[in-house]
């Protein structure tokens, strides 16, 4: 319990001038820090477009946004988990597993007694997402029922799901996912290759996923419960929130998003590899953190995460475009993430110093 011994009234008109202007300055700085992901994005675009005339062309922007889409979808799922104070390290592997499951169903079908069954692309996609959701549910059960720390449970799942992906094909690749008319399973390339109204389908899917996620997190009781669980789990329990259900649900959401991202990636590549999306979990977590999601839980926004994914994507592609070596790309990406967390803390400090004075 903290009893701050500072009286409560708002600053009076009699307050000295320097104090007021300093507060105004702090407010401006806070606004800048709140929108820092956007600021960084704009700065990146300005820098890269001044170096390369290619960067700001319509075709390059569309291409980069398509790259962003996959990471953004992964990161949105992970954001749900991080908001509850958890972490999901298994999303890259889940993407790989769903990729192999879908790839297998398209390439060689499902063996059942009496022959082989092929499903339509829509059903295959649905099955892939359900597989991801189920793996997420296992994560959730491990964490709630068996009290395994989220880091450990999902680290274990990272290995298990990746292993399962490799076992699915004995380490091999499903090279051709085009399907045949006879089997009624053509058209898988639609989600990862095709465009609608000049914009890649994958980008449309990202927009839909983000829109739904924004509504869920900000406009539904479930969304409030997520923030409450991450902010103070004991208080959430006492308020009658079914904390375990909320936790399982966020891992299911994360698993489903990961599976969807895996399917997009597979469709784009036109083949399913067991190593699909390896280490993608780190990019996803980085996007969430870059977008202002606190790893301690309870703080963050979906829109921030999407912005974070844009920064990472536009930065990576920009570095490639201007010819920076891949080694330096890693260094720069890492530095940006660390810088983001430092500014996040600066924002928290500034915010609390401002509320303390105006409370």
């Amino acid at each position: 319990m903290t009893d701050t011994d500072v009286a409560a009234p708002a600053p009076t008109a009699a307050a000295p001038q320097p104090e007021e202007s300093r507060t105004a300055l702090k407010r401006a700085a806070l606004l800048l820090l709140r929108g820092r992901t956007l600021v960084v994005l704009v700065v990146l675009v300005i820098i890269f477009s001044s170096i390369s005339s290619e960067y700001l062309t319509q075709s390059n922007l569309i291409l980069m946004t398509k790259h962003v889409a996959i990471n953004a979808i992964l990161a949105i799922g992970v954001t749900f988990v991080i908001l509850t104070g958890g972490i999901d390290l298994s999303v890259g592997s889940i993407a790989g597993l769903s990729s192999m499951v879908a790839g297998g169903l398209l390439f060689k079908g499902l063996n059942v007694p009496g022959g082989t069954v092929f499903f339509s692309v829509a059903v295959v996609i649905l099955i892939g997402i359900v597989v991801g959701a189920l793996v997420g549910a296992v994560n959730g059960l491990l964490i709630t029922r068996f009290k395994v720390a989220p880091f450990i449970a999902t680290l274990g799942m990272l290995y298990v799901a990746r292993g399962a992906a490799q076992l699915h094909s004995n380490g091999g690749t499903y090279p051709d996912l085009a399907g045949t008319e006879a089997r009624g399973n053509t058209g898988f390339s639609f989600i990862g290759v095709d465009s609608l109204l000049g914009i890649p389908v994958a980008v449309w899917i990202m927009v839909v996923v983000a829109a739904v996620a924004i509504v869920v997190t900000t406009r539904t009781p479930f969304g409030k419960h997520i923030f409450a669980v991450g902010g103070n789990e004991r208080a959430a329990v006492l308020s009658g929130i079914r904390v375990n259900r909320v936790k399982i649900a966020v891992y299911v959401i994360s698993g489903a998003c990961a599976a969807l991202a895996g399917l997009l990636l597979t469709s784009e590549l036109g083949a399913a590899y067991p190593d699909t999306a390896t280490t993608y979990e780190l990019n996803a977590i980085a996007a969430a953190v870059l977008g202002g999601t606190a790893l301690s839980g309870g703080r963050g926004t979906i829109i921030g995460t999407v912005m974070g994914a844009f920064v990472i994507g536009f930065l990576s592609d920009g570095l490639v475009l201007v010819g920076v070596s891949t080694f330096w790309q890693s260094v720069v990406k890492g530095a940006v993430i660390i810088f983001a967390v430092i500014t996040e803390q600066a924002q928290q400090r500034l915010q609390s110093s401002l509320t303390r004075h105006t409370a």
């Binding site: 319990m1 011994d5 500072v6 600053p11 009076t12 406009r219 539904t220």
Partner: protein, 504 residues
């Protein structure tokens, strides 16, 4: 009477807020100087300045006739001014000796820790604190809170301390632990150590204090020899009005039994042992007892947060089959927990979200939250409970302790309970907020609620409860009505065996 420490014309501004306004405070050598005042009155700010962790905006500090600069806590320590903060700052994973010397370990050969020497010095300090039975190798985390507090004092005693500032050291202590602490303070006084003691507990500091200084709204409003004051005078100085209006007694007619508990038993380090009780409509029932008596555990079990191994709970005559928080909430129970920060508030959320947390699922249209309904519901509760807030969208951490407590209470009331369980509802809130919360409890009873509350303060439980149950070691050891309750009877019934001795 010799002055040792004087703060002259101290003012302190935080942004536009003036926390201290031209305060001149004197502490007398070898005396216990008590500081009282509501939260926000400026006591802690002054103590932060005297201990070097804050700098005054204007004014000077004089120690034994010399003007001194207290630029940092280290500088203050070097001059013999030590402070014990309200929150313990110990390492639970280290031993008593290691805690005493943390950050200033004794050296052997310039490089290695002299563990034996530290243990020896630790034993001396423990002896001085009357804890000669304690092993310096005991982990601090294994000690009861009272002894942890003594270890904290021990840290200060290791230095050559002339002035010891204590900021509400008893807020977490049982009566017996307070007695031990006061004995230690008496010893320090004999050793010519000056104590500056901040407290909210009127009945306690009157026992130990030599001088009392009252703060209100950043000003020093009164300074008097303790023997020339009485409780009424102190409260009048603090709140600027009469103390008789502090607590409101419930006097509503009693109705049906709303909550009945039979033979409730919960195992654990702090157990609940065969507890039976009942609460009627319109009744305010108090549970008095020491910390560790099982009171909080009883409340949490009633609310479905802990599983009972035996016993039954009836709400409005109907047996409650499921012991989950959701089931108990639906049956009409609501709990306002003791530790607001740990169990009550979601610090990362706004005032509005905190108020609506338990009932948010009802405020939807077509599955989506209905913003206007949220706003209206929250605003209604804010005005009903007179919660002082900068805005519904402000972070809940921006509120004072009393107003945070009201936010938790508002959330509980929104679940439409019939019996309110309040665990230490006035802990850590100032006198004004205390009085308001007491008034609310009486009002709720008058509206037909049953109220069951826990209190560690004799005056409070005697003034507010229609019936008082006393808990000790997990059992109900006595029951009194408002007419036949006395302080002595309560203390006797609660102290069948004291917490400190039991665990030593």
């Amino acid at each position: 009477m010799a002055e040792i420490l004087e703060a002259r014309h101290i003012s302190k501004n935080y942004g536009g807020v003036r926390a201290l306004k031209d305060v001149t405070f004197t502490a007398y050598r070898g005396q216990v100087n008590v500081l009282v005042g509501e939260n926000g009155a400026g006591k802690s700010t002054l103590m932060k300045i005297l201990s070097g962790s804050e700098q005054p905006t204007s004014g000077e500090i004089v120690l034994e006739g010399e003007t001194v600069q207290l630029g940092s806590p280290r500088a203050a320590q070097a001059l013999g001014i030590g402070i014990i903060h309200q929150e313990l700052s110990l390492f639970p994973n280290l031993s008593i000796a290691e805690n005493l010397f943390a950050g200033r370990e004794l050296r052997k050969g310039g490089r290695f820790v002299d563990a034996a020497g530290q243990r020896r010095r630790a034993r001396e300090v423990l002896e001085r604190l009357g804890q000669d039975r304690l092993d310096p190798d005991t982990l601090v985390g294994d000690l009861p809170i009272g002894q942890q507090q003594l270890v904290e004092i021990g840290r200060v005693l290791l230095e050559d301390v002339r002035v010891l500032i204590m900021d509400e050291p008893t807020s977490a202590l049982s009566n017996h632990e307070v007695d031990v602490l006061f004995e230690v303070m008496g010893d320090l006084r004999r050793d010519d150590v000056t104590v500056i003691y901040i407290s909210h507990k009127l009945d306690e500091f009157r026992r130990i204090g030599d001088w009392v200084t009252v703060f209100r709204d950043g000003r020093l409003v009164a300074h008097e020899s303790m023997s020339k004051t009485d409780t009424g005078w102190i409260v009048r100085q603090m709140v600027g009005r009469d103390p008789d209006s502090l607590y409101v007694r419930n006097s509503s007619p009693v109705g049906d039994v709303l909550l009945e508990v039979r033979g409730l038993t919960v195992p654990g380090t702090v157990a609940v042992d065969d507890v039976s009780l009942s609460v009627r409509a319109g009744e305010v029932v108090g549970i008095y007892g020491l910390m560790g008596a099982g009171r909080t555990e009883l409340m949490e079990t009633l609310m479905g947060m802990r599983r009972a191994t035996a016993g039954e709970v009836f709400v409005r005559g109907e047996k409650e089959p499921k012991s989950t928080v959701q089931a108990r909430m639906a049956a009409g129970l609501a709990l306002v927990p003791e530790d607001r920060q740990r169990d009550g508030l979601v610090q990362t959320m706004t005032v509005r979200d905190n108020i609506l947390l338990a009932t948010i699922a009802k405020l939807t249209r077509g599955g989506l939250l209905a913003g206007p309904a949220e706003q209206r519901t929250a605003r209604d509760k804010v005005s009903e409970l007179a919660i002082k807030i900068p805005g519904l969208g402000a972070l809940v951490t921006a509120l004072s302790g009393g107003n945070q407590q009201k936010v938790v209470l508002a959330r509980a009331l929104l679940t439409e309970p019939i019996v309110l369980l309040l665990d230490e509802p006035t802990r850590g809130v100032d006198v004004g907020a205390k009085s308001q919360i007491a008034g609310l409890m009486a009002e709720l009873a008058a509206r037909g609620f049953g109220v069951l509350f826990i209190s560690s303060e004799l005056a409070e439980v005697m003034a507010m409860a229609d019936r008082v149950l006393v808990m000790a070691r997990g059992r109900i050891t006595a029951e009194f009505t408002a007419e036949n309750v006395t302080e002595e009877a309560l203390v006797t019934a609660s102290a069948s065996e004291s917490a400190l001795e039991a665990s030593a």
